[in-house]
């Protein structure tokens, strides 16, 4: 249950590899192979063997450090630990690229197009509501104009009648 960090796992794996490699290349084995020299110079053989093992380990560890630095492995592996930790409760297989870029891209873009559609729907609804109000104002304005026209009409007719009356009067007066 205890999740070991990938970086630690890497170091442990390399350490184990080295330990086993050194265990395989034991001093016993070394002296068996270099028997003639060992019999001639046992102390020297021990020193050469020790130096051999130390150098091998040093070189391997330096290589691993170089690779860690080059690939920025420390940060990358820690980041992967975090990502894996966040997703650890998920049981089913996660999505993987389908090999069809347009298909994969669709899912990337869709949320934004859906947002655009929602935004457009809001704009349309807002504009429709505003236009309904404006339409109401226009209808009221039309009624108002009609009202004013009728008033003007009525006044005009009254003056017309007056004018006709005036003519009659003149006619009457002229007669007399």
């Amino acid at each position: 249950s205890t999740t070991i960090s990938r970086l630690k796992l890497l170091d442990t794996t390399v350490d184990t590899f080295l330990q086993k490699l050194i265990a395989a290349g034991s001093y016993q084995r070394f002296t068996d192979c270099y028997k003639c020299f060992y019999q001639l110079q046992p102390e020297m053989t021990q020193r050469i063997y020790d130096k051999f093992m130390t150098q091998l380990q040093t070189s391997v560890r330096e290589e691993i450090s170089d690779i860690k630095a080059e690939g920025n492995l420390e940060a990358v592996l820690n980041a992967l630990d975090t990502i894996a930790e966040e997703g650890k409760d998920r049981k089913e297989l996660a999505w993987r690229p389908s090999g069809k870029p347009e298909e994969d891209l669709r899912s990337t873009l869709m949320p934004y197009f859906l947002q655009q559609r929602d935004a457009l729907q809001r704009c349309v609804r807002k504009q429709e509501a505003e236009n309904r109000q404006l339409a109401g104002a226009v209808l009221a304005g039309r009624r108002q104009v009609e009202e004013l026209q009728l008033q003007g009409q009525a006044q005009w007719q009254a003056w017309q009648a007056l004018h006709r009356g005036q003519k009659e009067l003149v006619a009457v007066l002229r007669e007399s």
Binding site: P101, D104, L105, T108, Y112, F113, Q116, A119
Partner: protein, 32 residues
């Protein structure tokens, strides 16, 4: 083969974001 994989993977990582940035710019421009 390895280079092809790395090249493909790099594109998979970067292109969706780049395309998305363009699409978002287009959407914003249309809205404006």
């Amino acid at each position: 083969f390895d280079e092809i994989i790395v090249d493909l993977a790099t594109k998979r990582k970067q292109y969706p974001r780049k395309i998305l940035e363009c699409v978002i710019k287009i959407i914003k421009a249309k809205q404006e």
